[in-house]
């Protein structure tokens, strides 16, 4: 784990993802107002901030689901802000979205297969399915069950597992702790670290700033669509403003 990662992007670990002055609108409302962030290869980077700060919109912009009106998004050296979402997935970005968004009337197994939609290497898919089952043994027990009938925690696991099935270089995780019991949150975050150790770069959006900063190497604090702070994770965790606003510690 790169706990000693530098606060700002340097030439050393190559930047996998770069957002430069990205502006995204929902109708006339500007949800992301000139956001610039960098994610280096191998890192866990977290975006923290209150509800409505533009965290999910940032992820949706990266994935191409909500196109930015201005700014550039560069992934592995290529500009992707105008690419359609299905191409962005093929380039190596996968998304475990807010609200999990499983296919409710497909089984766990079929949901995982959907994650591998653009792959045709059957053996590889089979291996990765088994890998997801080994990360989340619970999913293995439920593989034939309809995703809509899973518990919240199981759905979260299925959503993360499904995102892994495309073998992404970059994994976007939106609020993996939402609505889960504390024990389960710890477990999911352990698994997120394990996924990172296996070589997947992670951009993590969380309201639970404490736990997010606990596993991230760097973090950005978002307020109403802008970055107000960026630093190494442990520096943010000890920053007075952050502690007051997001960690509930005064």
């Amino acid at each position: 784990m790169s706990a000693e990662a530098p606060p700002a992007p340097t030439a050393n670990p190559p930047a996998l993802l770069e957002l430069d002055k990205v502006r995204t609108f929902y109708g006339r409302i500007e949800a992301v107002k000139g956001l610039s962030i960098t994610v280096n290869e191998g890192e866990i980077v977290t975006l923290i901030g209150a509800n409505g700060a533009g965290k999910s919109t940032t992820l949706r912009s990266i994935q191409g689901l909500t196109k930015p009106k201005a700014g550039t998004i560069r992934f592995a050296g290529k500009e992707i802000q105008n690419a359609p979402p299905h191409q962005i997935v093929q380039m190596g970005i996968a998304h475990s979205p807010e609200g999990r968004r499983l296919f409710p009337r497909m089984s766990v197994r079929e949901n995982l297969e959907m994650g591998a939609f653009n792959r045709s290497d059957r053996e590889g898919i089979e291996q990765d399915t088994e890998h997801v089952y080994s990360l989340f043994p619970r999913l293995s027990e439920r593989r034939g069950q309809q995703a809509g009938t899973l518990s919240g925690g199981e759905q979260q696991m299925c959503s993360i597992g499904r995102a892994l099935m495309s073998r992404p270089k970059l994994l976007l995780l939106d609020e993996p702790s939402m609505g889960l019991a504390p024990i389960l949150v710890d477990k999911i975050f352990e698994i997120i670290q394990e996924i990172n150790r296996e070589g997947t770069t992670i951009l993590l959006v969380e309201q639970n700033a404490l736990i997010a900063l606990g596993i991230a190497s760097r973090g950005y604090v978002l307020e109403t669509g802008r970055v107000t702070l960026s630093d190494r994770a442990e520096a943010l965790a000890t920053n007075d403003e952050v502690r007051k606003a997001y960690l509930g510690i005064s």
Binding site: H86, R101, M114, F117
Partner: protein, 350 residues
């Protein structure tokens, strides 16, 4: 005082839904019993007639199924009733007449093999034509409206319906056009309307092929994913625009095949045939819109109702009542079982 009457009334109110529930059930059972009795008397009075009416019912049902599936496929994926779909079917009949009648001159006098391949050519032609026409409609007129209020694409499909119908009137004229009796009316020793049997037999492989495409292929998987959660499908790397085009193409192909079978069965067609689409649409709603098995089941039921009503002799209301009866059924479904026979309740779908 006020609270007194309130508490006094409460038990009555609590019993009320149970009473109406029982009443509903009793009325339903009584109506079904009446229906069975009516069918039984008709059967006893003329078993032969009953048999051929039954066959006609299944034939109608098969034809309606091919159209109803188009409504239900498109609704399943973008929650839109495509009112132009009946007219796409009408164009399928027109193309069939052009190929089988005008071009190949099939009229039943040719040998079996020539007729078979001629009909096959006409069917493939109609399927290709409608399979291109339907996604073109989506591409030109509906795709831009995908994020518009629901009413906009709905009205657009009504407009397209008129355009298709008027275009057919322009190219084929205002009168009935058709072909001769291409298929024999009886085969071997059977005194049954053979062409009806052929229509049913031709429909079965089409339905099986559709089931295979939706259940087993990559495109079918993409269709199911888009139907369940369009944005999530995008996140999985599904090209949603292409999947919607594919769905419209499938719907068109089935309508084209239906067009050919219709011409074989009825032999004539006209520019306003698209109105049949309303019956098929009712069938799709009856079965549960968005549900493929439901559309087929609904179509068979509507086909049988129509045949019984028009073909039986003992106390049948007759042809002029068919549309009224079918739409009365539509209203009853919408009131008492809005999700249709096999559809899931709205709450489970999201």
């Amino acid at each position: 005082m006020a609270t007194d009457t309130h508490t006094a009334r409460r038990p009555v109110l609590a019993v009320l839904p149970r009473v109406t529930g029982l009443l509903n059930r009793a009325v339903t059972i009584a109506l079904l019993a009446l229906l069975v009795f009516w069918l039984a008397v008709n059967f006893v009075q003329g078993p032969g007639q009953f048999g051929s009416v039954l066959l006609i019912g299944f034939t109608n049902g098969a034809l309606y199924a091919l159209i109803a599936l188009g409504y239900t496929l498109v609704y399943g994926i973008i929650e839109l009733i495509n009112f132009a779909h009946g007219d796409v079917f009408m164009w399928g009949t027109m193309i069939t007449v052009s190929i089988a009648g005008t071009r190949l001159g099939l009229d039943g006098s040719q040998s079996g093999i020539v007729t078979f391949f001629g009909v096959l050519a006409a069917m493939v032609g109609a399927m290709v034509f409608c399979g291109i026409l339907n996604p073109t409609i989506e591409r030109v007129a509906l795709r831009r409206l995908r994020n518009a209020p629901r009413l906009a694409p709905l009205i657009t499909t009504l407009g397209i319906s008129y355009i298709l119908s008027n275009a057919a009137q322009f190219f084929y004229g205002p009168n009935y056009t058709g072909v001769g009796a291409i298929l024999p009316s009886n085969i071997l020793f059977l005194d049954w309307p053979a062409k009806s049997l052929i229509v049913i037999l031709a429909t079965i492989p089409l339905l099986l092929a559709l089931t295979y495409v939706v259940r087993r292929t990559r495109q079918g998987k993409a269709m199911r994913a888009v139907a369940q959660d369009m944005d999530a499908a995008r996140m999985m790397g599904v090209d949603v625009d292409r999947t919607i085009s594919f769905t419209f193409a499938l719907a068109g192909i089935l309508a084209g095949a239906g067009g050919t079978l219709y011409v074989l069965e009825i032999t004539t067609t006209r520019y306003d045939l698209g109105q049949i689409g309303l019956l098929a649409f009712t069938a799709a709603v009856l079965g549960g819109i968005g549900n493929l098995t439901g559309a087929t089941l609904g179509a068979l039921i509507i086909g049988l109702i129509q045949a019984f009503n028009e073909g039986l002799s003992w106390h049948a209301p007759g042809e002029q009542w068919t549309t009224s009866i079918v739409f009365s059924i539509l209203i009853l479904i919408l009131v008492f079982r809005p999700q249709g026979l096999l559809g899931q309740p709205e709450a489970d779908r999201a």
